[in-house]
Symmetry: C2
Subunit: 215 residues, 2 copies
C-alpha cells in the first residue's frame, strides 16, 4: 500500500489542478453567481464526488482560483522585480506583464473577474489589491529616490490610485470591447499619468516607457 | 369609462416607478445574477402579475434601472453644466456630485453595479460610460480653451482615462471598504491627476479643487 501513496498523491494534485483550471474557465465566462459546481465538474471531466473531495463549495473553488491568480501574478511580479531596472520602468513593465496575462491566461482573467465582482465579504477579494498596492508603493518610493519621480510625490496616495485606475481601465475595456482595446488603454493610462508623477526634467526621458506595452 | 383613464394611467406609472425603485434596491444589494423577479415583486409590494404587466423579464427591469440611473445622473450633470463655471471646476464638481449620488441614491448605486458587472451584451451597460466620456470631453476641451489645462492635452485620451479611473476608484472602494472611503479616494484621484492635466502655471490655483469634494 505504501508504494502506491506517492502516485496517488500526484494523481490527486493533478485532479485538483484540472478542477481549478476548469473552474477558472467557467468563472471567467459566467461570473461567480451563475457558475454551478455541475458545470465545473463537466468542464474538468471529473465526477461531482471527485470535485467535492477537493472543494466543499463554490466559495472554496473561487478562493482557490483567486489564490492561484495571486500566485501566478506575484511570481511574474517577483521575476520582473528581480531584473533590477529603475523603479518607474519596473512599474510600467509590471502593469504590461499583468495586462498580457489577463488577456492570455484564463486563471488570471477569472481571478480578476471574481475580485472585481461585488461579492462583499464572501471571498478573499481584497488580496490582489493589497498585493499590488504594496508592490507599487515600493517601486514609487524607489522612483523618488532615483530622482525620476517628483520629490514631492505621495507614494501611498499614488499607489492606491494606480491600483484603482488600472482596475477601472480593465473593467471599462471589458465592458466596452471585451478587452480588445486593453493594451492601448493601459498605454494611455501611463501617457496620462507620467506628467503627474515624473520629475519635470525627467519627463522627456520617460515618455517612451508606455511604448514598452506592446503584444 | 373615459373619465377613469387618466387616474388609471397615473396609478400604472406609480406602480412602474415603485417596481423600478424596488428592483434597484435588490440589484444594488445582490447584483444581477442573484436577483429574482419574486424578490422584486415582494420588495415592491406588487403581485408578480402586476410586475409582468410592466416588465417582461429581469433583463427589461435591469435596463429600466440603468435608464433611470442615466436619467438621474444626466439631469444632475445638466444642472451642473448650466452653472457656467470653468471647465475644470465643472468637471471636478460633476465627479463630486456623482460620487455623492452613488452613496445616497440606490437607483444610481444599482445602475453603477449593473454596469460594472461583467454582463457582456446582455444589458445596455455601455450607455453611462459613453455619456460620461462625452461630457468629460467637452469640459476638457473647454478647460484647454480657458487656459487652465495644458495646451498639449489630448482631451479624448484624458476623457477615456478619466471614465476608467473613476470607475476603478468606485469599484476598489466598494470591494475594500463598501464605499466608506469613496469620497476621500475621489479626492485623491483629482490630487494625483491635476499635475498631469493643469497648465503648470495654473496648478497652484487649481490645487484647492479636490477640497470641493466634501459631504
Amino acid at each position: 500500500m505504501a508504494r502506491d501513496q506517492h502516485p496517488k498523491q500526484e494523481r490527486a494534485q493533478a485532479t485538483r489542478a484540472a478542477i481549478v483550471l476548469a473552474a477558472a474557465t467557467v468563472f471567467a465566462r459566467r461570473g461567480y453567481a451563475r457558475t454551478t459546481l455541475d458545470e465545473v465538474a463537466v468542464a474538468a471531466g471529473v465526477t461531482k464526488g471527485a470535485l467535492y473531495f477537493h472543494f466543499s463549495s463554490k466559495h472554496d473553488l473561487a478562493d482557490a482560483v483567486i489564490e492561484e491568480e495571486t500566485r501566478i501574478t506575484s511570481e511574474r511580479a517577483q521575476a520582473t522585480l528581480a531584473e533590477g531596472r529603475p523603479g518607474l520602468e519596473t512599474l510600467v513593465r509590471l502593469t504590461l506583464g499583468f495586462t498580457i496575462e489577463i488577456v492570455d491566461d484564463v486563471v488570471v482573467a477569472a481571478g480578476v473577474r471574481l475580485t472585481t465582482e461585488e461579492l462583499g465579504d464572501e471571498l478573499h477579494v481584497h488580496l490582489p489589491y493589497e498585493m499590488w498596492a504594496e508592490v507599487y508603493l515600493g517601486l514609487l518610493r524607489r522612483g523618488v529616490d532615483e530622482g525620476q519621480l517628483r520629490s514631492d510625490l505621495d507614494p501611498e496616495k499614488v499607489a492606491r490610485f494606480l491600483v484603482a485606475a488600472f482596475t477601472g481601465v480593465q473593467s471599462v475595456s471589458n465592458v466596452l470591447t471585451g478587452r480588445a482595446d486593453l493594451v492601448p488603454r493601459v498605454r494611455e493610462m501611463w501617457e496620462t499619468l507620467l506628467p503627474a508623477i515624473c520629475a519635470p526634467e525627467q519627463l522627456d526621458g520617460c515618455r517612451h516607457l508606455p511604448e514598452l506595452i506592446t503584444r
